[in-house]
Every structure is written in C-alpha cells, then in structure tokens.
Symmetry: C2
Subunit: 199 residues, 2 copies
C-alpha cells in the first residue's frame, strides 16, 4: 500500500484518504484503539502526516465519525418525486444498507458515544438533520414541536431496532424495514393528526 | 437532620436511608458529584457509616441507580384484570409520573450511562424486565424474537420522547401518553401480525 498511498495528494484528498483508512479500521477494532499510528500504517503514510491533519486522537475520531454521519445523511436523500410513504421506506432501506456496509464500525461508534461528548455532539447534530429530512420527505413542513418530538423518538426506535437486528437478526431485513415503516407511519400520523386536529 | 437520622437503624433500613439520600441529591446535582461525604451530610450520619455500606463511590452510584430502577419497575406493574390497551396506557402513565417525580435525577442517570458501564448494565437489565412486563401485559406470551426487538425499540422511543418532553414539554402530559400509546399499539400490532401471519 505504501507505494500507491505515498504519492502526492491534494490536502483535501489526503485528509479524506486518512479518514477513509480510519473508518476502515473502526470496522475491525474498537474506536479507542484507532490512533495516528494505526491510521498511518493502514494508509501507508507517515505518522507525522496523520498528525499534520489531526493534531489529537480526539480530532481524528471526530473526523471519522463526521465522515460516517455525512455518508449516512447523503444516503438518506430520497427521490422527492416519490410519495411520502415510499420516501420513508426508501430512507429506511438506505439507512439499514448504509449500516450493513460497516456494521462493526456502527457498533463501535454507538458504543463510544456515551464516553465521548464530542462524538455524541456530532451524532446528535446528524440526528437533527435526519429529523428535518423526515419532516420534509413526509411533507409535514413547518410543524408543531410535539411532532418533532415524535420524529426524534421514532429515530431512537429505528436506531435501537437496527442495533438489536445487527446483533441477532431475528427477522429478514425486508421485514425489519416493514416493521419500522409501519411504526413510523402510525407514530407520525398520530402526532400530526393529534397536533393539528384535536388541539 | 443529625438527631433524627443518627439513631440506630437495622442495617437494611440504614442502607435504604442512605440510598434515598443519594437519590434525593441526584435530583439536585450531577451523579458524579454525589459521593460518600455528600450522602453522609445529607443523611446526617458519618462518612464512615456510608463507607461501611458502600466501599466505593461506584458501589454507591450503582445502588442509587438500582433503587431508581426498582422503584420504576414497581410502578409499572399494572392491574392484570384490565384490557391490554389500558394496561399499556397505565404503564406509560406510571412511567411518566415516576420520572416526573425526580426529573433531574432521571436526566442525571441517563447522562451518566454512557461513561459508566456498570450503571448502563443496571439500566439494561431493567429494560429487559420492562420488555417481559409489556409482553405479559399485552398477552403476547412466548413471542418470536422480531416482536421482542420491536418492544425493545418502542421502549427506546418512549425513553427518547420522555427525555425530550422533560426538557421542552411541547405538548401536555396526557397528549404525550396518547402519542406513545398509539405508536406502541401500532408497532406491536404490526410486529405481532407480521411475525404470526405473514411468515
């Protein structure tokens, strides 16, 4: 890998290469054990070069989790011409597929959140963007806060179900998506209906 | 407080008194700042006495969180003569009421889980018991794993919604309970129906 990776790269491309190497490692070992030395070895560059882009291990870890979150968010952008229900399903399928691509990395990141407020903040910011995406896809537009609360709660449900599913796979993947879609539609319809109708 | 609390108590009662003092403190300050000295001062006993029951701060914190979890679980036991839907609602109401009694303590415990695997294990064990309670109350009996996954995911939804609600209270409490009940019924019905019917 040394020969190919050691060549000159533009700073942005080099940084992205190092982050990709980090993501790759996180899929095989705990985030806490992924440091500049490991990333350097895996990317075939010097440790000094890694330090040039990421002054601390914390910076490196934050960049890895930001990259994973950005990749996940990009995968959730669904075709706006689809009906709301299908967009919800397409988003769910993309979410599960994105996590299945690197299941161990997903578990590693989830497990590290509690002890690392900076990583938790990155993931929390990404959840806020997912809430906005869902409200937009479901054409719920500017919404009362009770609905935002339920969208956020449904995201927690999805995260928990997928975490459980990755570890035990009690049902086929399509069935997981069905169950979460139905739960989501029912939860959001209840929240939208109640907030708009019964108040 | 010294005079009343300094009197002789049976060991079980003394331990319970110290744990109650700890729970009381956690409702006003971060769990990490609740140590033997603080509990001793609040309960009006010596620090040595606290150490006699809890050798380490970790033991003290685990006992506080165990007591909170036991209190919560006890509150979730609903009348078995009620129909399943009403039991789900009664359990939800009890959950929200139990957390509202000590909202700051709840937030403190939730926030400390990530960085303390022992506390996280206590809460996780309690969630497993809640899953069993729900499957029993909903008369879903011995169930396929896909349903357990969805019950667990619904618990995550409830926890997230209540956490959000405690901080922002976007809707009245009865409406929060309505929304979570509807989401729960829809999610569990989908999971029970799909697993039993469509396979």
């Amino acid at each position: 890998m040394q020969a190919a990776s050691g060549r000159r790269l533009a700073p942005g491309a080099r940084r992205a290469q190092l982050v990709a190497a980090g993501l790759d490692l996180v899929d095989r070992q705990r985030l806490a054990t992924v440091g500049a030395a490991e990333v350097a070895a895996h990317a075939g560059v010097s440790k000094a070069l890694v330090f040039h882009y990421f002054a601390t291990t914390d910076d490196l870890h934050a960049a890895i989790v930001e990259a994973a979150a950005a990749e996940l968010l990009a995968s959730l952008l669904t075709d706006p011409s689809l009906p709301a229900e299908e967009r919800l399903r397409a988003g769910l399928e993309a979410y599960v597929a994105s996590i299945e691509r690197r299941p161990a990395a997903h578990l590693a990141v989830v497990r590290s959140l509690g002890s690392n407020p900076r990583l938790a903040a990155v993931v929390e910011a990404s959840r806020t963007q997912v809430v906005a995406l869902i409200l937009d896809a479901m054409q719920l537009g500017a919404t009362p806060p009770g609905l935002q609360m339920m969208v956020r709660a449904w995201i927690a449900m999805v995260e928990e179900a997928v975490l459980h599913w990755l570890q035990e796979r009690p049902v086929p993947r399509a069935q997981l998506v069905d169950l979460l879609q139905q739960a989501g539609l029912a939860s959001l319809a209840a929240a939208a209906g109640q907030v708009n109708g019964e108040e």
